[in-house]
């Protein structure tokens, strides 16, 4: 795994439809054993396309907001 932050997956909401797997430009995600898995986490650029395209809101890219 990697120390860098990754999208948060809510497995209760995830229907394992594979939309995020197909659309991820860095092939970070895959379906393994019937669940979504980070197979290439270091490549994740936190671009948010997985979150934008998740039909059930199961993928979250979270931010803290603070002064620089």
């Amino acid at each position: 795994m990697t120390d860098q932050a990754l999208p948060v997956i809510d497995n209760k909401k995830c229907t394992v439809c594979g939309e995020c797997v197909d659309i991820c430009p860095e092939s970070v995600l895959a379906i393994e054993n019937g669940r979504l898995a980070f197979v290439n986490p270091k490549a994740c650029t936190y671009c948010g396309i997985c979150e934008e395209n998740c039909p059930t809101g199961a993928v979250r890219l979270e931010y803290i907001i603070r002064w620089a």
């Binding site: 932050a5 209760k12 909401k13 948010g48 979250r60 979270e62 931010y63 907001i65 603070r66 002064w67």
Partner: protein
């Protein structure tokens, strides 16, 4: 359930005995992260106080669009309005943002406590005043300000809170739902601010760089 009563709003001005009396008329419930606590339109059965964790209050349009009304950390109360209405129905949906524990007082017990403990009734009135002020600000923001202004005001408020007003982070979808817009529009507004050097979007962080420019954006004075 172990309670830190000093952190509970409505308890500020009560004596120790009065606090105990309120707690004796309550029960405790736990919810998992993401779990629904109440649904809009259901008959109001109880009022709630956040003992641990954080909750989110939201409404849904018939088309499924969400408007986040508020997030509440420890010590805050919700569902007070319908508890005081005849045949009141829950005014909004509430979900647990994190694992959380709630103090629950049934509607009848709540009314009884207001009647029996005048200081509790006054605390509830003051709390209503605060909530009314918050909702008035929300209406003003949604009806009078551009998305850019709303975003700037939201970012300043979050940064000023410095994380003390809650531990849950925001996604761009959450922010859009809070500001009464959609994710695409919110994303463009954020990127524009980033291009202008007002903020930096990093992994897990939205860092506010130029306080003066951000304040001008919030004031609509650019």
């Amino acid at each position: 359930m172990r309670l830190d009563l000093a952190r509970m709003l409505l308890f500020d001005e009560l004596t120790e005995d009065q606090r105990k009396s309120v707690v004796q008329h309550s029960s405790g419930r736990s919810f998992e992260s993401g779990e629904a606590i109440i649904w809009q339109g259901d008959a109001c059965e109880a009022v709630f106080c956040v003992v641990s964790g954080e909750i989110e209050i939201f409404r849904l349009s018939p088309g499924g669009r969400e408007q986040i009304l508020d997030r509440m950390p420890v010590g805050h109360w919700f569902n007070l309005v319908p508890a005081l209405l005849q045949k009141g129905k829950n005014q909004a949906n509430v979900r647990a943002l994190t694992e959380c524990r709630l103090l629950v007082i049934t509607k009848n017990e709540f009314i009884h406590l207001i009647e029996e403990i005048p200081a509790f009734g006054m605390a509830v009135t003051r709390y209503f005043a605060r909530r009314l002020a918050h909702m008035t600000d929300l209406i003003e923001s949604l009806s009078l300000y551009s998305v850019r202004q709303r975003l700037a005001r939201f970012l300043i408020a979050q940064a000023e809170a410095g994380g003390s007003e809650g531990t849950v982070r925001w996604t761009q979808t959450d922010i859009a739902n809070r500001l009464g817009t959609v994710r695409d529009v919110l994303g463009r507004a954020l990127r524009r601010m980033a291009d202008e050097g007002i903020l930096r979007i990093e992994r897990e962080k939205i860092l506010l760089v130029d306080r003066e420019k951000l304040q001008r954006a919030a004031d609509g004075n650019e």
